[in-house]
């Protein structure tokens, strides 16, 4: 199942991943499993989703680049609010995440 494909459940140094509460978020309407306490961008990676937005001008696909809230490449529309840094915003059950699709002509 895609849910665990990219999750590191066992780690030689960090040990076994503690089971967080599973929640469900929606990416462009499609349900994605996530774990409470993780940022949206991480949950998307875990589900194998790498595209966080299309760039405003050329509508090129972009993905998280820094994961610490600086690059703004992971900005998505979250519960209607645009430009939310998904690498620093934690998932909430039922959250609706949309992929921005560029806006410049």
């Amino acid at each position: 199942m895609a849910f665990n494909n990219f999750r590191i459940l066992q780690h030689p140094v960090l040990g076994e991943k503690k089971n967080g509460k599973e929640v469900r978020i929606f990416l462009d309407g499609l349900p994605i499993h996530a774990v409470e306490g993780e940022p949206i961008a991480a949950a998307l990676y875990a589900a194998g989703v790498r595209i966080t937005r299309l760039s405003p001008h050329k509508k090129e696909p972009r993905g998280a680049f820094c994961m610490i809230g600086r690059c703004t490449e992971c900005c998505m529309i979250v519960d209607g609010e645009p430009n939310v840094r998904t690498c620093r915003t934690m998932v909430r059950d039922g959250m609706r995440v949309e992929t921005p699709r560029g806006w410049m002509e």
Partner: protein, 259 residues
Amino acid sequence: MQGKTGSESWQEVWDKSVNGPRALIDCWQEIPCDPCQEACAQGSIVLSSGICAPPALHAETCNGCGKCVAICPGMAIFLVDRSIGSGLARVTVPYEMRDEIRLGGEAWAVDGEGNYLAEGRITRVSGAGRPGRTMLLTIEVPEEWALKVRGVRGRRKLLEEPEEVEAIEAVEDFAFCRCEEIDYSRLREIITQGEFRSLPALRRFSRAGLGYCQGRFCQSILRSQFLADCPEEDREVESFRVRAPVRPVKLSRLGGEDG
């Protein structure tokens, strides 16, 4: 106490290892690091001068306890034990991978470049299942490999070589500034034709570095590109004036609203 560094000590380790395990230290760069010395209760590891000196081993007093192997941040200390005889040696390596390596199972012994040396039996596993601890694995290999083994791999295959391809002809264009999507070709055109003296002027006009990320990622490459394209002028290119906010902040926040 005397001790020898690097490969000088290896002969001694080889000699003494017929009596039991001895530490083999493969650390010869001057790294500011001394936990091995601190960890050795025997006082067999000594840094001659300051913490950058490569550790010297006194093989005579080394009892092969392996504490230095477990703590070495460079994972550069091993144990060699030839006491079992019959042309075999046991080599102990630090291990922090998550491959399932079982006691009694077979694994690859590899050298420092990852080359296959021998397939051997794992005769000892310590620290397994204790996250945060460095495992020590002992593998049995033909004696001639004893000084060469640097790793044990449960994954017994080699990476495929990358394919060689025809060189690509033209360099594709790309966004130099990720946010404002200023093309590389456009930027260079601006740099070479604009005759800007300073980085702030180049930024003002090209807009590279004026995006949402506040130039976090392109400002330093903008500087390099600017200097590379205008090499004839030996000068300070003046840095950007920094003004608040250095992180994006909601206007409502800035206006003093809570929440």
